[in-house]
Amino acid sequence: MRKPRIPARLSRPTKNVLAFDTVESINWRALAPIGVFFLLCVVIAIFSPNFLSVSNAIRILNASAIPVVLVMGATFVILMGSIDLSVEGIVALCAVVTASLVLNDTFASDLGLWAIPFAVLAGGIIGGINGSTHVYLKVPSFMVTLGIGFVCLGIATAALGGFPVRISDRGFRALTLGRTLGLPNGIWVAAAAVAVAMIVQERTRLGRYVYAIGTDETTARQSGVPIERTRVLVFVLAGLFSGLAGAMAAAQLGQGHALIASGRLFTTITAVVVGGTALSGGVGSVLNSVVGVLIVIVLTNGMVLMGVPPFVQQGVQGFLIIVAVTLALDRRQLLVVK
């Protein structure tokens, strides 16, 4: 990849908290999410030795696959200081698009794995609508993405009249059901998504610009960062990842319907924040968010393993999330907390 030309002061963001290459400036607090993750694993393992089994590790990675793909997009949006609340809408609509394009019980089509590019593209287009409405009509990203998410869910409902499209294509379902080198394919797809996001973050101008905008938009603008274009592109990127997650959700559950993504938004935002990315922008990285997803998923898994009573679980979950965020956030870097 061609080394992008970047204004000198933007070339090495100091706020990338998991960048280990700068040894002299290791920020121990930046490692807090990893610490929380290991602590959590140790506690659960004491109560339930099965937790450390290989098969459970695979199950946790498998359950993490879709959230990981989702946080790849959400992290960039949040790093920029914006928010994307359209996750559930885009995932549901793209799951419906995917389920409708492969061999199914409702529509006559049989695209097989070729349905995935269409789902990803659909997600990217919706992300583009999010971004352009936000930037050019100057509507806060909170409202735009909330609204567009609702529109997506509305389309998914109206298109199917409230009924699911069931997938009968076993070949397509191999996207999540099949295994390669012993691991479910969904994990490989998520790993590829992380690789792409890492390249965008570390090796492209877009990635640098995102940090610049999130840290201080005015300075970034004065340094010649194309704010508008960057913002739109980041929302497109988030849409592409959501679209991929939609295809994965359809493959995992063997259907597409309007409610298939319910609950995903909460997991996504929580994972990003628990991973140590600040909602105020500029601080964090995609790797942080991967750790954040693992914390959230291990927590869910561990509570069932430890036999925590259901009515206590939500309380414990809420409490631990606040603890994790408290440990992970570097308050010295946050001048303002909203």
């Binding site: 199950r59 946790i60 509305g154 009924f163 699911p164 609950g263 869910t300 009515f311």
Partner: protein
């Protein structure tokens, strides 16, 4: 956020469904309406179709109201409808929450409108105390049918072993009833069947998927059966089993009779489900309401079992799925209680 999201769908969907029909209404015509949580799940979508089918059969204007899971909105919409029609309206309503039913009945009585309620109402609110405007309350026996489907699961397990159970939202009446029915059926085995764990997954597929994965780690092969309080969660659990190549090896049961679950029963992946009849509750609820409002029947003179009654929940297993698929699902809108299975019992 999920809740808000669900709500908004309804808005869009309800608008598309009701607008075309509403413009055709005339002032002197009685309006028929259905109110429920959402159009984005198959149960309620079919419920609305049932109401629409009856409205078409009598040629009256028809409206769909959705609560978006919000009691205030549900009540405000019903209030607006009653005042717009001057009380000349029949409403078949699935109240968002039990207490809402009392308010709806009061409003209807005051304006002379007619109401049939579904599923949710306070135990001490009875149609016969609000003659003639509160026509009837229809429900399905959550405890009884849950007990039946649990027995089907126990049969599929060979009569013994451990089961894991996935519940709905802990405070929902159907979730409580279905759990109770399951526990009663398990208790009747005298210890041969054991509930390894119970976890609520809030009616959500993905949550059920994750819980099932954790159970596979915790109990592994000790799991001889999976009970789910609805089909969505049953499918979520089934997909978690499929991921490990255990689909069809561990019997799973659900409740609701969704197409996905029925297909899974046909494929031998699920041991059974309970099929409700939302087409019937949607259509017959309005038909009964209309009959009372138009004077075709004297509802105040009808016995209690015609005012608070259960519909038919059919337990579908591999043994009767073919028969169930080929059954005659049509019904006569004028035969009001043909599918009733008795007066509602309170626990």
């Amino acid at each position: 956020m999920g809740k808000i999201a669900n709500n908004s769908i309804m808005l869009a969907a309800a608008a598309t469904l009701s607008s075309g029909i509403y413009t055709a209404s005339f002032a002197e015509d009685m309006t028929l309406a259905i109110s429920m949580r959402s159009l984005s799940n198959p149960y309620h979508a079919t419920f609305a179709r049932g109401g629409e089918a009856f409205a078409e059969s009598v040629g009256l204007p028809f409206e769909v109201l959705v609560t978006e899971g919000n009691s205030e909105k549900g009540l405000a919409d019903i209030r607006a409808l009653i005042s717009r029609t001057n009380g000349n309206v029949c409403i078949n309503v699935d109240p968002n929450d039990s207490p809402d039913a009392a308010t709806i009945v009061d409003e209807a009585k005051e304006a002379g409108a007619y109401v049939v309620t579904q599923w949710n109402k306070p135990d001490d609110l009875h149609p016969w105390d609000h003659d003639p405007n509160y026509v009837a309350h229809m429900s399905f026996s959550g405890v009884g049918t849950s007990k039946e489907i649990t027995n089907a699961l126990i049969d599929a397990m060979g009569g013994e072993g451990g089961i894991v159970a996935i519940g709905g939202i802990l405070s929902n009446v159907p979730a409580i009833e279905r759990k109770l029915g399951m526990e009663m059926a398990v208790a009747e085995t005298g210890g041969k069947v054991e509930i390894l764990d119970f976890q609520p997954a809030d009616w959500n597929e993905t949550k059920a998927f994750e819980i099932m994965q954790a159970w596979l780690t915790r109990y592994g092969d000790d799991i001889k059966g999976v009970w789910a309080a609805n089909d969505s969660m049953g499918i979520g659990a089934l997909e978690a089993l499929r991921q490990e190549g255990k689909d069809g090896l561990v019997p799973v049961v659900g409740i609701d009779g969704t197409e996905a679950a029925l297909a899974a029963v046909e494929a031998g992946e699920m041991a059974g489900t309970v099929a409700w009849d939302p087409m019937w509750t949607g259509g017959m609820g309005l038909s009964l309401c209309h009959a009372a409002a138009s004077g075709a029947i004297d509802i105040a003179a009808e016995p209690a079992e015609h005012r608070e009654f259960y519909g038919t929940g059919i337990v579908v297993t591999s043994a009767n799925i073919a028969e169930f698929r080929s059954r005659d699902a049509s019904f006569d809108f004028n035969d009001y209680w043909a599918k009733s299975t008795g007066q509602i019992q309170y626990q």
